[in-house]
C-alpha cells in the first residue's frame, strides 16, 4: 500500500476540503479495511481528533459518533440499555477484542459491506445517518443509495423505543464472517426483520413485516408464515460459503425463532 500523505484534519470542514482535493484521498476510520484491500491512495484523512468518538443521548435518541470503536459501542451502558442489549450483541461476535478496539462503527457502516454485522444489527431499528456537509439519511436509504456518497459520516442516530431485539450470526468458526445474519426487533409494537450476508448487504423484509404488522392476532403459525414470506421476498444467492438453498432454510428457521424471541 502506497500512501503519500497522512493528514490529521483539524475540523470536519478541513477534512471535507482535503477529501475534495483529490479523488484518491480517503478518510480512515479505524484503518482496518484500508489495510485489508491495500489499495494505494494519495492522502489518508484522519478524523480521530474531532471528538467523534463519543456516545451521547437525548430524550428521544442515542447519538453514536462515527469514530466510536466497536468495543466502546458494545461496552456502552447507553447502548446496552436499548432494546434488551441486542445492539451490543451484534458487535460482540466480530473477531476479537484486539480487533474491535480498532474498528469503528462509522467505518463498519460507510463501506456497506455485505458481511456487516453492524449494519444488520442496526437495520431493524429507526436509525439515521448524519453526514457533513449537512445531510441526514435513514440507514436503509443509505444502503440503497446509488454510488459513493460525497460526504463524511459524522454520527449514527438511534431512535429510542420500547421493545426487544434479537441478533443471530450464523458462522462456521468463531472468527469467521457470517454465512448469513439476522437482526429482528419488535419496537413500540411493530415488527422489523433484517437479513444480511445473503450474501448481499443487509436488507429489510418489508413484505414479511407488513404481514405481521397487519395481523390483529399473532401465533406460532404467523411467525412461521412471516419467515416463509421473508425467504421468498429477499434475494438470497450462492457463494463459496453457502448455497442459496441452505440460506433459504436458514431464513425460515431463524426469522421464526427471532420473531418468537422478540414476542416473549
Amino acid at each position: 500500500m502506497k500512501v503519500n500523505e497522512y493528514y490529521r484534519a483539524s475540523s470536519l470542514e478541513d477534512a471535507y476540503r482535503k477529501l475534495q482535493e483529490d479523488p484518491k484521498n480517503q478518510i480512515i476510520a479505524g484503518g482496518l479495511w484500508i489495510k485489508k484491500i491495500g489499495q494505494d491512495c494519495n492522502a489518508l484523512v484522519d478524523l480521530s481528533t474531532l471528538g467523534l468518538n463519543k456516545i451521547s443521548e437525548t430524550k428521544d435518541e442515542v447519538i453514536v459518533g462515527s469514530m466510536v470503536t466497536q468495543r466502546d459501542f458494545e461496552n456502552s451502558n447507553v447502548i446496552r440499555s436499548l432494546f434488551n442489549d441486542s445492539l451490543a450483541f451484534s458487535v460482540r461476535e466480530i473477531m476479537g477484542v484486539n480487533f474491535r478496539n480498532i474498528a469503528t462503527i462509522g467505518g463498519s457502516i460507510i463501506g456497506r459491506y455485505p458481511f456487516s454485522d453492524v449494519i444488520t444489527g442496526l437495520l431493524p431499528y429507526d436509525v439515521s445517518l448524519e453526514f457533513y456537509p449537512e445531510q441526514k439519511m435513514s440507514l436503509e436509504d443509505y444502503l440503497s443509495y446509488k454510488g459513493k456518497i460525497n460526504a463524511i459520516l459524522v454520527a449514527i442516530h438511534i431512535k429510542k423505543g420500547s421493545g426487544k431485539g434479537f441478533y443471530k450470526k450464523v458462522k462456521t468458526t468463531a472468527l469467521d464472517f457470517p454465512i448469513i445474519n439476522f437482526g429482528i426487533a419488535k419496537v413500540n409494537g411493530e415488527y422489523r426483520i433484517a437479513v444480511g450476508a445473503r450474501p448481499l448487504t443487509g436488507a429489510l423484509a418489508h413484505k414479511a413485516m407488513d404481514y405481521l404488522n397487519s395481523q390483529s392476532k399473532l401465533d406460532q403459525e404467523s411467525y412461521k408464515k412471516a419467515a416463509e414470506i421473508a425467504a421468498e421476498e429477499l434475494m438470497l444467492l450462492d457463494n463459496k460459503d453457502a448455497s442459496k438453498e441452505y440460506r433459504t432454510d436458514l431464513v425460515k428457521v431463524y426469522v421464526r425463532r427471532g420473531l418468537e424471541e422478540v414476542s416473549k
Binding site: 500512501v3 497522512y6 484503518g31 485489508k36 489518508l44 473477531m95 484486539n98 468463531a174 472468527l175
Partner: protein, 149 residues
C-alpha cells in the same frame, strides 16, 4: 513524516512512511518482541496495548498514534513473569511465538474485568489464534493468574 509517542512510558520520535503500520515501525526500531503472524488483522499475535487497550499492531497506522501511550511486553515485565509462571505450571506453553501477544491480552483482561465468567474470558481471548498447547490448559493458567493479587 515524524511521529512522537510514548513507548513503555519513554517518549520516542520516529521517522515513518505515512502508510506504515505499527508492528513494522516497532520491529524496525528493535522491538522484536512483536510477532507478526498473519499480518491481516486475524491472528492477534502482534497484539500490544494502546492507551491500555489491546490492539493488533499490524493493523494500526503508526501515524495515528501521535501522543499516545503504547505498551509492549517489555513494559509489563513483572506481570508477564507471573503469567508465564502460571502457563508453565499448567504445561500450557509450547513454541512461544504467540505468548507475547497473548500475555498482553490476558494482562488487559485482568484490568478490565473483576471476576470474569468463562464466557467473558473466552470472548476476550478469542482474537488470539495460536493456541497449540490446548484450550483447557490455557484457561486454567489464565484463571490462576486472575486469582493472583
Amino acid at each position: 513524516m515524524i511521529v512522537n509517542f510514548y513507548l513503555n512510558n519513554v517518549e520516542v520520535s520516529y521517522s515513518i512512511k505515512p502508510g506504515e503500520y505499527l508492528a513494522e515501525t516497532l520491529r524496525r526500531h528493535g522491538v522484536k518482541s512483536i510477532k507478526v503472524g498473519c499480518n491481516e488483522s486475524s491472528c492477534g499475535s502482534c497484539t500490544l496495548l494502546i492507551e491500555g487497550k489491546p490492539m493488533m499492531s499490524c493493523s494500526v497506522l503508526t501515524a495515528s498514534l501521535e501522543g499516545k501511550h503504547i505498551t509492549t511486553v517489555e513494559g509489563i515485565q513483572e506481570e508477564a513473569a507471573k503469567i508465564s509462571k502460571c502457563f508453565s505450571k499448567q504445561g500450557a506453553d509450547q513454541c512461544g511465538f504467540c505468548n507475547v501477544g497473548f500475555a498482553l491480552v490476558i494482562y488487559a483482561l485482568k484490568r478490565e474485568y473483576k471476576n470474569p465468567t468463562d464466557e467473558e474470558i473466552n470472548n476476550y481471548i478469542v482474537g488470539n489464534l495460536c493456541r497449540c498447547s490446548g484450550l483447557q490448559s490455557h484457561m486454567k493458567a489464565i484463571k490462576e493468574y486472575l486469582k493472583e493479587e
